[in-house]
Amino acid sequence: MTKSSRINSELKGVWAIARKDMRIYYLKPPVLIYGIMIPFFLFLAFALGRDVPSASLVPGMIGITLFFTASSVGPIIVPWETRMKTLERLIACPISIQSIILGDILAGFLFGIIISLVPLLLGVLGFGVNVINYYTLSLCILLSAFCFSSLGILLSAPPTDNPSNIMMLSTIIRLPMVFISGVFIPVDQLPTGGRIVALFSPLTYTTDLLRHSLQQHHHYQIALDVLMLLAFIILFLILGMGFHKKSLSKRL
C-alpha cells in the first residue's frame, strides 16, 4: 500500500466516522430541536424589551447558533462511546486516532453549517437582512463551524465515561463565551476589560465576520478575524488530538 492510498484510506475512514456520528448522535429529533431552540431562546432573551432593531441582532443569533450546534454534541461522543464500549472496537480498526477525532469534528462541522442556515434564512426572509458579502459569510460559517466543532472535541478529552461530567465542563466553558464575544453587544461598545477578554474567544471573530457580511459594521479587519479563527482551529486541533491520544489508555 502506497502512502497516497494510506491517506485515501484514512480520509474514507474520517468520512465513515462522520456519517456514523451524524446517524447516531446528530440526526435525532431532540438534538435538532435543541440546536434550533436554544439559540432562538437566547436571542429572545436579549431582544425582547430592548430598544434595538431586531435585524441588528441577527449576526449574533447566527453566531451563537453556529457556536452551540457545532460544539454541542462533540463533547459527549467519546465519553459516550467509552461507556457504550464501542470505542475499543473503533480503535482496533485500521484508522488512526487522529482520523477518528477528525471524523467527530467533521460531523459537528456539518451539523453546525446546516442548522445555522435556519437563523440566516430567518434573518434574510423575516427581518430583511441583506447579505453584503457572500464570500466572507461563507468563509465565516465554514471556519467557525470547524473551529467550534474542534473546541467540542477538545472538551471531550478528559478520560471519563460519564457524558454528564463533560456536559458540565462544556457548559461552564461555553456559556460565558456568549457574553464576552460581542454577540449581543458589539465589541466596540464593551468596556475596556470586556474588549480585552473578548480577544480570547473565537466567537468574537465569528460575530465580527458576520457583522462584516451582513451589516458592514465591524470592529476588527477581516484578515485578523480569519487569522484568529485559523489560529484557534490549529490550537484546538493540536490540544484535542494530543489530549485524546494521552487519555486513551485511561479510557479502556
Binding site: 484510506s9 474514507k12 446517524r23 457504550m84 485500521p94 484508522i95 488512526s96 489508555s249
Partner: protein, 316 residues
Amino acid sequence: MNPAIEVENLAKSYGKLLAVDHISFQVKRGEIFGFLGPNGAGKTTTQRILTGVLEPTEGRVFVMDYDMQKGGFYAKRLMGVVPEFANVYIDLGAWENLMLMAELYGVPRQRRKERATELLEMFKLYERRNENTKYFSKGMKQRLLLCMALVHQPQILFLDEPTTGLDVQSARLIRDLVRKLNEGGVTVFLTTHNIEEANLLCDRIAVIDHGKIAAIDSPENLKKAFQSVQSVEVAFAPPFERIDLLEKLSCVNEVKKLGDKYRLYTDEPSEVVNKLTDLTRSNNLKFLTLNVLGPSLEDVFVKITEEHKGWNYDKE
C-alpha cells in the same frame, strides 16, 4: 515461514503497576493459540497491545511481519478483533454496523454487501439485519461482533472471551466457526479464562499469571508435565468420614472431599489404589466408585497459577 505473532520482552505498566511483565512468545501461522489466565493476569492488556489498541511500555510486537509500533495500520488490516469489553452500535442495525466496519477496513463497496449478506446468513442474523441492535440478545450481539471482525476476511483473528455469558447454542456456533476458520488457514489468538474451551480449541496454550508467562505448550503436553496432579476418585459404602486416614496414606499429596466422594491427588495412582484396597479391608468398607483420573487442564492451570511465584515453565 515467519510466525503470525512474535512478542519480544513485552511490558506494560500503569503507574507503578506492572500489568505485563516482560513476556516473550510466538504464535505460529495457522494455529489456534490460547491465552489463558486468571482475572487480572494481564491477558486483556496483552491482547490490546497485540491489536494496536494500547502501546507497550517496553518490548516489541510483530503481527504478520509488521512491527506494531511502525506498521500498526497495515497489520490491523489483516486482523479481525473481538474485544472482551466491546459492543455493537446499538442505535444502528446489524447491517449498518457491518457496513461501517467494512468501510473502515477498506472493503470495496460491492464486496461489502455480498460479504455482509454471507456473514449475517451464516450467523443467523440476516432476517433481523435492519432491526435496531439495542433489541438484540447478548448472544446475537456477540455473533454480530464476530461478523464485524470477519467482514474483511482477516488472516488472523483475535478473540477475547468470545463465549463468556452466552447460551450454549451461541457458544457452540462460535466455537464451530473458529474451528472452520482455522481449517481455512486463519490464525486464531484466543484469550480466555474458560479452560475447557481452550482445551477443546487450542493447538497450544500460554498460561499467564501476574503479568508473566507461566507455561506454554499443547494442552496434552501441559497435562503430561503435571503428573503430580493425577488423582484417584473414591467413594465408600458405608460412607467413610476419616479424611485424616486418607491423608496419611503414602504417596497422597492432597485430599479433597467432593460431595460423597474423595479425590486423592498423587503422582503414583496405582500405589494409592493398593493402599485404598488395604484400607477398605481393614475398615470393613466397600468401594462404591473408584476412578483413576489424569490431570485435567483445570488442575494444571490451578497448579501453575498457585505455584507460579517467579518460577517459569517454558518448554520451548
